[in-house]
């Protein structure tokens, strides 16, 4: 820890820091609202889909794309970009919304989601969509690829403005069932991949039901810590908590060469009370007349928090 003299006063710095956090918070919350709105519109076109997951994960996606990722919207293959890997292919609906929000694909294209010849298939694939780094869907793959990417980027010294490219892997709590996830967790620690951050969406729901009835994965935090990761567990629908967790990971774990995991407890259908209270289902059914109600509830909720 070195201290350096600076021209700005501590109180001035603190005010700036508070303002910066508020700015970041607002930017992320607004993006999360738009991502949710996009997801509802896409779901309506399909008449169904993984809308519940997209709504639940919107705050995580918004935090990553708005606050963390270094990318160039016009050049998705920019060599020094940070990589965001979506393991959970069925979350593509949320990811497409985030990619559109980031300007990598036009918002107008979102309505093609899941249609024949669309660049936006139901399950996310790198060969179809700009900004999709990998083809997810077969769960338990993302973190293994992330390990290789983090190794490869570090090996090649891929840097821009003094910072190496980072790798973010989004996975679900269901993916913790897969042994390959833990192979990768060991590998990331062994190879000291401080440039790797995993986010686990713990919505406590899998295809066959509640996670704790399918295969108990708890205690999750202790598992990751035992694998040598810098592990934090936060409310994944609390933007402030997410921002703090990413800041901690960058400040504490990355310099030590430790991979970071942010375990995000989220609520399926978050932001739309109608869906939050509905019986939890992997593939949520929404009636034709309900989409507009969903959008209205979402808007009302967002305006409520924004004015609060």
């Amino acid at each position: 820890m070195t201290t350096t003299s600076t021209e700005s006063t501590p109180s001035h710095q603190a005010t700036n820091a508070v303002e910066r956090v508020a700015d970041r918070h607002l930017a992320v919350s607004s993006a999360a609202y738009r991502i949710r709105n996009h997801a509802l519109n896409m779901g309506e076109v399909q008449g169904q889909g993984y809308v519940g997951q997209a709504l639940g994960a919107a705050d995580i996606l918004a935090t990553v794309y708005t606050d963390q990722l270094r990318y160039r919207a016009e050049d998705p293959h920019w060599e020094v970009r940070d990589r965001f890997l979506l393991s959970t292919g069925h979350y593509a609906i949320g990811h497409y919304a985030a990619v559109a929000e980031a300007g990598i694909i036009p918002v107008s294209e979102l309505e093609t989601y899941g249609s024949d010849d669309s660049r936006l298939p139901m399950s996310g694939m790198s060969t179809y969509t700009p900004g999709m780094e990998i083809s997810g869907g077969s769960l338990g793959h993302g973190l293994t690829i992330a390990v290789g990417m983090a190794l490869g980027l570090r090996h090649q010294g891929t840097e821009y403005e003094g910072r190496g490219a980072r790798v973010f892997n989004f996975l679900s709590d269901g993916e913790l069932d897969e042994g390959s996830t833990w192979e990768a967790a060991m590998g990331a620690h062994h190879h000291r991949l401080g440039n790797l951050t995993a986010m686990v969406d713990i919505n406590a729901l899998q295809a066959d039901g509640a996670t704790n009835t399918v295969l108990r994965t708890e205690p999750v935090l202790e598992k990751w810590e035992a694998f040598g990761w810098y592990a934090q567990r936060v409310d994944g629908n609390d933007v402030g908590a997410l921002l703090e967790a990413f800041d901690n990971a960058a400040a504490v774990a990355a310099p030590e060469g430790r991979p970071s995991v942010i375990l995000c407890d989220t609520r399926v259908g978050r932001g739309v009370p109608l869906l939050e209270t509905r019986e939890k289902a992997h593939f949520m059914r929404i009636e034709e007349h309900e989409w507009q109600i969903c959008r209205e509830q979402l808007a009302a909720g967002f305006e409520g928090t924004a004015s609060a």
Partner: protein, 333 residues
Amino acid sequence: MSTTVASTKPKLKTSAMIASFADPGQKTTSAPFGHALVKAAEADQRIVGLTADLGKYTDMHIFAKAVPERFFQMGMAEQLLFGAAAGLAETGLVPFASTYSVFAARRAYDFLCLDIAEPNLNVNIVGGLPGLTTGYGPSHQATEDMAIFRGMPNLTIVDPCDSVDIEQAVPQLAASEGPTYLRLLRGNVPTVLDEYDYKFELGKAKVLRGGNDVVFVSSGLMTMRALQAAEALAAHNVDVAVVHTPTIKPFDASTVLREINTDRLAVTLENHTVVGGLFETVASAVVAAGLGKRVVPVALPDAFLDAGALPTLHERYGLSVDRIVAKVLEELG
């Protein structure tokens, strides 16, 4: 050049996991893959090496020692091995990732298929103990690796005969764009093809010798046996041609069909189950071309094989030179 197989006492021992299939006194080359990879890496900075706790057993240790900063040990974790290889390739590197063929084909298939083959990445899978090259039984004998891999789109499959094939194949595998699978021969590997006017060319079959009575179409170590059997059959006044087809996929059907579409007895020879390997590759090409030609397979049976000494097993399952000669003579009546 004659094989010696004890048909009566004393019983042979299984010996080490990786049994040598070189004949006593045969010319061999030490660790041709490892040395070829080091050489290729000198010319191509993109090349990196990985293994899943089998560096010493796949000759990857040669590379690890020569260029340690470009070698990544992934532990006994084959899903991670190939997922990470995909990730490395996504950043522009050219990984060679080694394990045993059984683990690559059976255990990590989903990762090879979706993370490497579907995005058509330049990842080179290096599989030790292909076919029947160990006496350890079905846990280690990859008798169906080609059958498993042939259905995978984009994947090039190479079944080299000897050290010459391996040395010449490695830089071509690195240079070719998509993924490849190399059926590795390691340790003291026979050196056979240097005596022929031959060069390995990815995707090409080559006629090693002409012959008027029989045509052998072979890959892998069975090309060595085919050449030995051809010599032995000459003593029976049987004139045998040998066509070596080290690339199983994409298959050089035009060369092979040209050689097969004659009055000669056609025999395929492979170190692999009769299901889904070279025989069926040739047979489907023959049928698709509308040739009403009989093809006789020399291949492993569709069965889980015994444990034991390699010479014993090769004799038992028909891969030995004596068994090949006997089969051809029987076919010719």
